[in-house]
């Protein structure tokens, strides 16, 4: 009797622990994407001419993308497909290879951009190239915007 209760309790705790881990990973990757939003706001401000170009801030934006992309590669384990209001579509796990390649490309191009950016003109060149990675991934692997 006690063994049965203990077993059931252990399973319940285990299940809870497992789902808590899923939600935590989903929360972490949502936070990474939020930092991307901030970097996008900074960078687009320069390209739009809404803010005076600042080389340090420009490099920081690309660094945010590079670091975030590297972290994201570890934040899509197989047990994080649902819950936590994740917007990642199941196809990201079905085509995990391609999905990871896109993240790696994003990381690589962002790292290169940090070095390549020297002034406003070179920033505009790099901006489109790096930001293209967002759409390339979202169009296939993210829930469409409502």
């Amino acid at each position: 009797m006690i063994r049965t209760i203990s077993l059931v309790a252990l399973l319940a705790v285990g299940a809870t622990a497992a789902s808590a881990q899923n939600l935590d990973v989903i929360k972490q990757r949502k936070e990474v994407f939020k930092t991307f939003g901030g970097a996008a706001k900074t960078g687009s401000g320069f390209v739009k001419g809404e803010a005076k170009f600042d080389l340090a801030a420009a490099k920081a934006a690309f660094t945010t993308y590079a670091d975030g992309a590297a972290k994201l590669k570890t934040l899509f384990p197989d047990d994080s497909k649902v819950g936590g209001e994740t917007k990642t579509l199941p196809i990201a796990w079905e085509k995990k290879g391609d999905f990871m390649n896109l993240l790696a490309k994003f990381e690589g191009e962002s790292k290169a951009a940090v070095v390549a950016v020297t002034d406003e003109a070179s920033f505009k060149d790099q901006w489109g190239k790096v930001m293209g990675n967002c759409g390339a991934c979202h169009k296939v692997y993210r829930e469409p915007q409502k």
Partner: protein, 235 residues
């Protein structure tokens, strides 16, 4: 017999290509090496220019292109629709009364779609339309969402219906609408039946010159208005 003048036909098929191109240049932008939607934006400008052109041609084009010639009151269009369902609708040289409303709907949706594009901002802030700043920041995602939804639930639906009806008319009703929009000609009105609107289209004077001059003016109007509102055409 002459049904459609050359400028109207060139307008029609150029618009088909531009709408297709506008979609492809967005959907495959990254693969085409154009993440900031340079070509999509130019497509949008071209579509807006052509819509303005067609609106003007509706007043000073050849007879079958003029709005006064083919737009009937809704009850007349409904009457035509009823007779069509009963298999006893007359034939028209130009747009039939129901087709007229499809034309107006397509022009309206194309205008709206183009204008929403001018105001849109890509959700990652990778790129934006020339007049994005006219929309308050907190409303931009909503406006851009309409640009997407109007394409899928508005334009695509109308285009699909337009193609379907033209195919049905051409192959089932034996009314050669599609060849007519290519060659500009329709068979002569047969005997007592005749065409309900006119036996033959009358060209306006110097149609090609007028079309080209009005095209230049349409471009000046569209691009000029964007610049007048403070937009940068290319950035």
């Amino acid at each position: 017999m002459r049904a459609w003048d050359l400028p109207t036909r060139v307008f029609h098929w150029t618009l088909v290509l531009l709408v297709l191109s506008a979609y492809l240049s967005f959907r495959f932008s990254e693969r085409l090496g154009d993440p900031t939607l340079f070509w999509h934006r130019l497509n949008g400008y071209a579509i807006l220019i052509l819509v303005v052109w067609r609106l003007g041609w509706g007043f000073w084009g050849s007879s079958t292109s003029r709005f006064s010639g083919f737009i009937k009151w809704p009850h007349r269009a409904a009457g035509y629709g009823l007779r069509l369902a009963q298999g006893r609708a007359p034939h028209y040289l130009g747009h039939n009364p129901l087709g007229a409303y499809m034309i107006l709907a397509l022009l309206a949706v194309l205008s709206a779609q183009g204008m929403l594009g001018l105001l849109a901002e890509e959700h990652n802030q990778t790129t934006w339309g020339p007049l994005y700043f006219l929309i308050p920041e907190e409303r931009r995602a909503a406006v851009t969402g309409w640009h997407g939804r109007l394409f899928y639930y508005g334009l695509l639906v109308l285009v699909g219906l337009h193609i379907l009806v033209n195919v049905l008319y051409t192959f089932i009703r034996k009314d050669p609408l599609i060849p007519a929009m290519i060659t500009g000609r329709k068979p002569a009105a047969n005997g007592a039946e005749g065409y309900a609107d006119a036996d033959e289209a009358t060209l306006r004077p110097r149609p090609l010159m007028a079309a080209l001059l009005w095209l230049a003016a349409s471009a000046a109007i569209v691009l000029g208005l964007i610049k007048a509102f403070g937009g940068k055409l290319i950035y």
